[in-house]
Amino acid sequence: MATLIEHSSILIIAVPLLIAFLTPLIGMASKKARNSVVVVGLAFVAFLVFALARDVILNGIHIYTLGATSPSLAIPEGTMVPVRIILEVDGVSVFMGIVVAIVSLVAVIYSLSAMKGETGQNRFYTLLLLMVAGTFGMVFTGDLFNLFVFLEITSISGAALIAFRTKFADSQEGGFKYIVVSAIASLMVLFAISLLYAQYNLLNIGALAAAMQYTMLDRIALVILIAAFAMKLGGVPMHMWISDTYSVAPVSITVLLITASQASMYALMRICFILYGVTLDLAVVGWIVIAIGILGMFIGVTMAVRQTDITRLIAYNCVCEAGFMLIGLGVGLAVLGDRTDLGTFGTTAINGAIFHMINHALFEGLLFLVAGAIFYRIGTRDLNQMGGLGHTMKFTAGFFLLGALASSGLPPFNGFASKILIYESVYQFNPILTIIGILVSIITLAVFIKAFFSAFTGALLPKYEDIKEVPKTMIAAMTIFAVFIIIFGLFPGLILDWIVRPATDALVDQASYINAIMGAIP
């Protein structure tokens, strides 16, 4: 067990890759074996993630040096800098790992019956596993170029999966937009990485943070990194690809796309808090992030109200929720300089932002799965065609209501628990932001009331009278999300103490992240 935990950080990335390379060979033999292998592998990865999370939260940062003679040998003899690729797992990484583990397992369970009868299922599962592995790599690596490589893995497999339904033109178009946007963002990220390499001849995040001097080139790199990752996580005004891609992908892929966007947000946090840290002029960067967040909340929700395509509606709501997280992070970043403000409300804001990330993944995932269930049954996403589905699809209607209430921040669900943290802390920073946030939450409730009313309530339309409930496995997948939503809503204190507060402490503590790498130097 000890050796398993010692190697778990690489196994979490390598096991999905191994299964992904095996999947085409197994799938040629039998489909049942392939499905079982995929599910069992992802369950094993989830178990490893939870074990690693417990270890990291108890024993501090976890170092894994690839290719060295010992996993903890970060810096070889005869030099002062790390040479090899180092996986550095701290609180934020394990938090994101837990999110990705839960969501990927649910997505695979949902796909089992949702993808039945489609062509090209071998390649579908292969790319799904590659996407999961890429997201894990993005959140676990401690090396900038490795981050870029895993960003590319996630982008390419995601684009191919968005274009899975080849008979629809809009899905092809969505995949094209996604790959173009991702390629530009990742190339800009690589350009910024090369700017950093040109000055310090380093690629490791901890070593770079130790050597950072915030020169002009560092400013350029910071600007490019912030813009590129904001584009990847769907910050306004670079959010338009989100509604185009989330709405046309198979929903089990959309929930993974959400986690990919959140991995980009994790990368943004890593860049701002750890790589640059207190060296950058915090107020300006914090306000840039806050401005992107405010625009995201307002434009996202106001665009969501007028949508008649249910998945587009939920996608614009994703933009709005991302704005909430960005506001929390921006406030935490703006007050990172002085410890008193950070103690009074800064850490609370970051707590709210990080807690909102997992809640966002849960309830938006549930809503997307419900939308996919509707599409699975009636074959359309247009709200104008729907009506009275609640008479026949009772579970689905209940799940949609649960997700809608959680997403619009009504007590006692998890959306409220994280939004109240953001409200309270942001109010002490700047009251206007809190007022805008509460207004946006109200409009969000209006959005989902419209969607629920026009889709599920009303008289039972004659053309939908023979619609049955969706299969059991899809219900099971949605139930997992629903159970997590209720638990996180009823016991927010436990979740905060277990995973969220360690993540925040790891995020605001730059010195320990650097010491975990450079500590070997006398």
């Binding site: 170029f145 490589v149 590319e152 390419i156 684009a159 191919a160 274009a163 080849t166 033109a169 809009d170 092809q172 178009e173 969505g174 995949g175 094209f176 790959i179 173009v180 390629a183 530009i184 190339l187 690589l190 350009f191 090369s194 390499y197 040109a198 001849n201 690629l203 509604s243 185009d244 709405s247 046309v248 665009m303 007028r306 587009r312």
Partner: protein
């Protein structure tokens, strides 16, 4: 001035290439030309990366029958190799998507191929 020029000359060249690529991505509506723009963008990054590792009078970092002289930095060459392969993979996927879009909409204009807006 000449010192600073020699100091930032590779960056200027890379920035010019990047500007060309972004110009194509912004102003050219043909989907194939968009793929070209992305390729030019990645080649600008490759150019900048590989010039970062140059040492004055350096030789290739291979010890087999190596002549005298300092070796240029090997890491940036590995990164460039990685980025080249990634660019090839990306353009292959984009081109297949472009073929599909052309089969569906019958045009390569990015203004024509927008099912979804608003």
């Amino acid at each position: 001035m000449t010192e600073t020029l020699s100091g930032n000359f590779p960056l200027v060249a890379a920035v010019v290439l990047m500007g060309i690529g972004l110009y194509i991505l912004i102003f050219r509506r043909n989907l194939i030309k968009i793929v070209m723009g992305i390729t030019i963008l990645s080649s600008s990054v490759n150019l900048f990366l590989v010039t970062l590792g140059y040492r004055a009078g350096g030789i290739a970092p291979i010890y087999t029958d190596a002549p005298e002289g300092p070796m240029v930095l090997p890491v940036v060459q590995a990164l460039t190799l990685t980025n080249i392969v990634i660019a090839v993979a990306t353009s292959a996927l984009i081109l297949s998507l472009v073929i599909r879009i052309y089969r569906h909409t019958g045009s390569l204009d990015s203004k024509k191929s927008r099912r979804m807006k608003g």
